[in-house]
Symmetry: D2
């Protein structure tokens, strides 16, 4: 049996650990062959492959990124996409496909499996931790650790100069990284995309922190918006350079805090360092177990399913269900954490 593997969407620490686990167990226990497809869906679309055997996965466990490369190519938006994929699989004699990716990548896998009979198994990947059906995704813990370490470092600068420091972290649609790293880093305010924030309230927290003779740290998710954000931030969205548009809110907020409180404020945008480098031990564990269970799904011919974490167990769920809705921060949990604001 020959199994194809691809990784799609943004890179994430732990992708290589998944790939390694799939290949190690697939070859050693089940005697499978593997084909790596390069750059997500582009690989099967264009028949671009990479050797994928035990020597190819040696030493990759601690390495970030993906040895298969990644892209955002979407075969559903590509002329004749589905037939081309089926043809590639047929030509290469690939009878099962493991797709490691986020909402988009898995969405395609789900439709391929359900509507076109392509035997797909999914492994969830989102650094933002915003996929429902799984408690956590790998890469998230690494991102939170990096952001927390950065916040730890920023405290001393803030205290020494009695300045406000605004830290912008990843999270376009869900505030998980902001919530976890902000809590772990002892932030005095955490702003997430799920709830519009009131700048004056943030300024109150800032001021109250200074009154206690400490300097405030404000953690803001890149997708967080002030109450009138559509208006005040709209110019930025015209900017064609993706990164700048997203980093707008931190900088904007620092200026507003300066203006309204009279305190000096500085911004740090953590950016891509959050998603690179060696995965944390937690993420290596989770990613490896996802890989081991994904190849078991193939052995069981359990297609159209995705592996997921529930408590300490790896379970299987229908791909379609898993990608149906975004997992956002529950207002109750946000309130729970709110005791540390100000």
């Amino acid at each position: 049996m020959r199994v194809g593997v691809l990784t799609g969407g943004g890179d994430c620490p732990g992708l290589n650990a998944v790939i390694r686990a799939i290949v190690r167990k697939g070859v050693q226990e089940y005697g499978y062959d593997f084909v790596g497809f390069r750059d997500g869906w582009r690989g099967p679309l264009e028949g671009d492959t990479v050797r994928l055997d035990i020597p190819a996965v040696r030493g990759i466990l601690p390495r970030g990124g993906t040895i298969l490369g990644s892209s955002r190519t979407n075969p559903l938006k590509t002329g004749n996409g589905i037939p081309r994929i089926r043809q590639t699989l047929a030509e290469l004699d690939v009878t099962a496909l493991i797709t490691i990716g986020g909402e988009d990548t898995l969405g395609v896998a789900g439709r391929l499996a359900d509507e076109h009979g392509v035997p797909c198994v999914g492994v969830p990947k989102t650094i933002d931790n915003d996929l429902s059906a799984t408690d956590y995704t790998f890469g998230f813990d690494t991102a939170v650790s990096i952001a927390t370490e950065a916040i730890d470092r920023l405290h001393t600068t803030a205290e020494s100069h009695m300045r406000v420091l605004v830290v912008e972290v990843m999270g376009r649609h869900a505030g998980w990284i902001a919530l976890h790293s902000g809590l772990a880093g002892g932030a005095n305010a955490i702003l997430i995309p799920e709830q519009r924030f009131d700048v004056d309230r943030v300024c109150d927290w800032v001021t109250s922190r200074f009154r206690a003779s400490y300097a405030p740290i404000v953690v803001v998710a890149e997708g967080a918006m002030p109450e009138d954000g559509d208006m005040v931030l709209k110019d930025r969205s015209l900017d064609s350079f993706g990164h700048v548009r997203l980093s707008g809110v931190g900088e904007w907020l620092a200026k507003e805090i300066e203006k309204r409180t009279g305190n000096e404020a500085r911004t740090t945008v953590l950016g891509h360092v959050q998603r690179g480098g060696t995965p944390s031990a937690f993420d290596r564990w989770l990613a490896t177990r996802f890989g081991l269970h994904a190849i078991d799904c193939v052995r069981d011919a359990d297609f159209g399913t995705m592996v997921a974490l529930r408590g300490t167990d790896i379970v299987r769920v229908p791909i379609a269900e898993a990608t149906a809705r975004l997992k956002t921060v529950d207002p109750e949990l946000y309130d729970e954490v709110g005791v540390f604001f100000g």
Copy 2:
């Protein structure tokens, strides 16, 4: 209302995060007063207290250890222990007690609550992650991270000299740290207390790794035992110096591997570095949430209960149930990981 807090047993990264969360929420939301008891049960036994208010918990979130101190004093084995504790609580007007500790500390809390009507709430703490009723305990992730980083480092030395490296990690009765760090560190064998190991089989893994031109790393929990361990290790147990006795298995195993395979082998005993220093982001998150929910138990007068993690939720369980049995590594999970041995 005045609430007492104590920490018992071995120290663990995250204890201070629990204490801080209890005090911040207790003071700010519920208007409670706090009394810190020093050195676990010794505090209430001897009336030894420490001030515990918001200034006392500032800045402690990222700090390992416990500002309250700890000890293994057991009031059930101390003359007149229970009445003395009740008297201290009465004298200080303490009407609820939050005890943060492992099996021993919580065992006392459970009996105090159930048999003597002392209003106790428990927070689980064990670096070995071996308490049932909770998916994880804080400190465990930090320990696994430190051990994984050490294993990462040892790989390059092993490869450069083509030597076997035996890494002894914590875990007297349960192999969770060995299992997680061994998997995350890419170990070629993981030995845990739950299953006696066969030295010859370990030697086979070692030899097969060398055949693939790589040098093996063997991770062994301090409580792991060879099949005839009672005999071969028994001399060591006569040693009065606790630490040496426990570190015996790694050293013994390295010598056996040298003898049986002819390959050079070295041991590294990670020891106390695994339990010290700043908690990981995951542990700060978990410990903080445990603290927030523990003080909610007090508010709800829900005594005799312990907070626990289930998936991503914090739940309440009877203390007695939580300490009834050790949470050990499931043979199935150990088998799952075994694909990477050799």
Copy 3:
């Protein structure tokens, strides 16, 4: 004898280690008293002091920032500055002043010592490592370590997506942090303030890296300028918000690279994380030795001098000489490193 201590300018990991060493040796070996002045020169100007004895310096060795606070207040630009400082020192019976700071802070100390007979000893501090007369300053190694770790992380993202990553690091007038972290991080181009850069040449390096099937990392000091930088970057300098102006070059360069090579490019501005948090072992060693030698200068009544590192020795130099010129990157050294570009 009573000795005053102050820290001026931007904060820097290691400041607390200097303070601790001064106080520990001053009290234990020489029996001195200490007075901490708050927020750099603002302290002696306004008579704002903080207790500075052995308990005050306990536990501060591993902590970033400064327990004395810092500011950029310049008494030479403050009405009646010198007489007010002399008066404060007289009133507090302070007969020697140790000033820990960069060019500005030490410039004032030098003039106070030389022209006004105020007994000052200097300790050099600049995270950019741009003070002549000393091989290294503390804080620099920490900043380089943090930047290198960030570059390590960015490699995997760059490779996974075959993108250019531009990393902007500190260094307004000297490129030491860029040079060291860029070399240590395996960057494919390093741009420093000392030499205007040619964007087309940078694009050549980028392109040649892609041809070898790897993705390029470009490290750029915040003060680096393209050949026609005065023109292309001038709008940014009108921005009143300091941080934005300085972070311009990385973002500008990424856009230019995209435009000229057609490759996707992203920017990461490391910002304040480089100067915060616990100092590296090297910086703790250097800072501590600076402190020990500074208090020896006081004992020897060797005023108007600054401690400095030469090889592995701590030496004394006249403050005036030390601040006379900026230590910039030698063109020969830059050429040496250039072998790794492209």
Copy 4:
């Protein structure tokens, strides 16, 4: 021109950075060919080589260990060693040899160059930093950083349980790692091989630390000896298992402290983790510059010389001079640091 490269002795973070720099500059600037010899002097003795070109050195900068392998084989103690090496070099048309190693490896290189006309260039390597003629060797900073981080972690455990923690670090003949990491980690006693220690004095320091309500950390180099060490430790030297013999002093000292002061004491032996893993930014910088200058020595036909660090410059010294004597800790420097004991 064809240049041979070998690495001898214990592995050390930075070896790969040296190799990469040699090859990158040698190929790109001077058009040289390279041959890697495997496992130190065993390579040229047995004609065991490994391909060494630009693809072979890609990505190795951040990796610990050595891609060439290492050994302690000494051709001067091997039958017919010199002629065999000359023959190998002749057969492979290798006209210059760069040897990266410590006292032993360089001692051979020096004699080969001086007495047998074999064109050798040396690069100093010793994790203990005990080679004279160079201010620092690469690997040392990494080892000190790892040891310091471990000591940082141990403080919290020591405080929580009010125990003595003895940390044994590397250093058989010189106490540099103990001195630097002990100072940087805030140890309360540092014991080095250069000065026999008085156990009672150590106990005084321990006791005085407890009186100040803090728990002591004692850092001891593996080669440190009590005043009557030859007697009390002699049994251990009979042990055939190298590692155990060396780790004796920490464990012995902890027991003595327990016995004499009545305080609980624990030992942590850091062991091989100190020499593995990714090199620090400082070590990558130093190792790279050593490599760049070593290949320049070859170009200049400057054989029998070794590169060395003096201040911030890389200089050339005769190999023979460099290995003539051990660089040990100066008693004055040890006294300087002694202010923090107790």
